[in-house]
Amino acid sequence: MTTEIQGVKLDEAERSTPVLPRDISTDELVFNMGPQHPSTHGVLRVVMRTDGEVVLGCQPLIGNLHRCCEKILENLTYVQGLPYVDRMDYLAALNMEIGLVLAVERAAEIEVPKRAQYLRVIMCELNRVISHLFSAGQFGLDMGAFTPFLYMFREREEGISVINEVTGGRLLYHYIRYGGVTRDVSKDWLGKVLKFCDRVESHMDEYNNLLTYNHIFLKRSAGVALIDRETCLRFGVTGPVLRGAGVKRDMRKDMPYSSYEDFDFDLVTAPCDEGVVGDAWNRHRVRLLEILESIRIIRQAVEKLPDTEIAHKKVTRGWKAPPGEAYVASEAPRGEISCYFVSDGGKFPYRARMRGPSFYNISVITQTCRGLLIGDMIALLGSVDITLGEVDR
């Protein structure tokens, strides 16, 4: 049903069923959370109907950061368009790049040299580590724990510097190209990567003591904001949220791309040791455990890094894809980024339809918010972990 509150058209089918027993519910209050709210992780606006502190329903209103990335891609040559994809999920820019590049390569049937594939894996996993560090810290910050956030930022900073050394960027890297990667790496740099991995691993206990197993944190997030398996599947939710609901689904395992099949790593899914499957705590825990799995992958990739070319010879500056289409999904930190790519053989891509995982992940809060307290609502938003750049594209 479409209802209108304060000039905003809201889509709320559930309005008829009351959250609170009728005899204790009072007048409704409409809250406008965002776009300048500190916990919406960007420019998300959520219109909430509440009864005191209890949320009765909500509607996320997105689009404040919309740049129509897909239209931009249609108007630029292949190589020109690539940096724009970085700006989708600016916290995991390399994972965004690989999302587009894989689809184009599949459509054009380009074989990527093994070394480039391994470098992509190293880079994407490094980016996943720093992105998950950010998300986990941000979730803590939303719950009022400021210090763990800065501890995680300390390691994230180091990870950024490591990537920076090769790519020349700290946030938006523009490293992965069609057919390979831009720059080769040195032995020295690989040593730094391993050092970074050791460092993150050695600080894991610190994060767990300070945040994950903190009694208050557990009380706030375990069993709170449940998103169960069925809801996830219905709303197209992917990534740590889906795995936090106990579903074994990870593109790196299910449909390996870029030589992920060469590496030995485990799929992290709920149930973890505390909480209920599908709650905010499990999503947080899945993220932290995925950092460890990523580190495992990085170590294997560094060890096995083959000595070949780093880019496909035929892909030059004026390269264009032959006519064709492909749909490839890859695993970004926030879920499955996929690209439906269609080429008509022209200079520009005909269509590159990007799937932002956060776009579908955020839509689930319309259902999950019901009956939560405002404090839990923050836990829900923080644990689903969205990047608005990717929701709005």
Partner: protein, 366 residues
Amino acid sequence: MIALQTPVSHDIAVWVAGLLGMADNWLFHAIGMLVVASAVLILVVTPVGLGGVYLERKLAGRMQNRRGPNRVGPYGLLQTLADGVKLLAKEDIIRRGTDEVLFRLAPYVVFFTAFAGFVVLPFGPGLLAADLDVGIFFFLSMIGLETIGIVMAGWSSNNKWSLLGSMREVAQVISYELPLGIAAMCTVLAAGTMSIQGIVDYQEGGIFSWMILRNGYWAIVMVPCFLVFYVSALAAAKRAPFDLPEAESELVAGFHTEYSGMRFGMFFLPEYALMLSLSGITTALFLGGYHDPFGMSSVGGMFHGVWWWGVGWFFLKATFLFLSQIALRWTLPRLRIDQVMYLSYKVLLPISMVCLVVTALLRLIP
């Protein structure tokens, strides 16, 4: 060595009145006392509040792997002052649709009540503004009164987040006043007086005269009592993990969302003043006030009535409590509103009531 056994403001007022030849004029006497008391408080407490802000930022920096303020002045000591000047220079914004009278009045109410608590706080032997017979009662009522200022701020801001913040504040402070008051009552019961000076005097004579460890066996009731008081004081001062009224990640900034410039400053400084006065009152009630743990400040002791010895010990203990509050803030996440209520009514209140009964029973033992 100056030994002051009577409240210092009274002494100064009498001295000034004597100089002017009006020692017998009771009106002059009363007004003089008020003026001197407030001047002393503002001169003493405001720098202490600023120091508290500095300490918090420095300690938070240390805990978070950063340096904290270190640019303005030596060791960043003047940073808080510089921030104060910045706040003064900032534009004072009053939004359309606010209830202007209440909006302007609220910071003063909060400021006044937060500082009023210091009136009954003995910093050292004889160093207190007014030795009220109902000192504890006065102190608790000032904390309660602060709520009114915050409700005024939340209501008049014409902002739903502010309103929600002030509602949380009311619910929280009213709930925590109960365990706070009952825990304080235990000490009153033990000392047999409601005057804070009286309670401090009762704890004279070394660490085993302190309320928390009195005669050793009193610890069984006073340690839980102290913990209840400490936690409730955290909640009453709106400190993390009980900072729900201004929870920045939930309610933007809670009740002071719409305040800017110095009006915001007048909410900010009282928070630290309240923390300090609550640390001070905890010290006075449970940790022997200005008495040292060796009994040197008791009658016949080496430092009996020496004001700097007492003040030193008082601030040592109060600062320790203050720093522990800061450390807690930068360690713990925030509770949820229902958990805050649960803690008050289902945990702290029963404990404090049991403590009260046990204290009454212990009182029967000579």
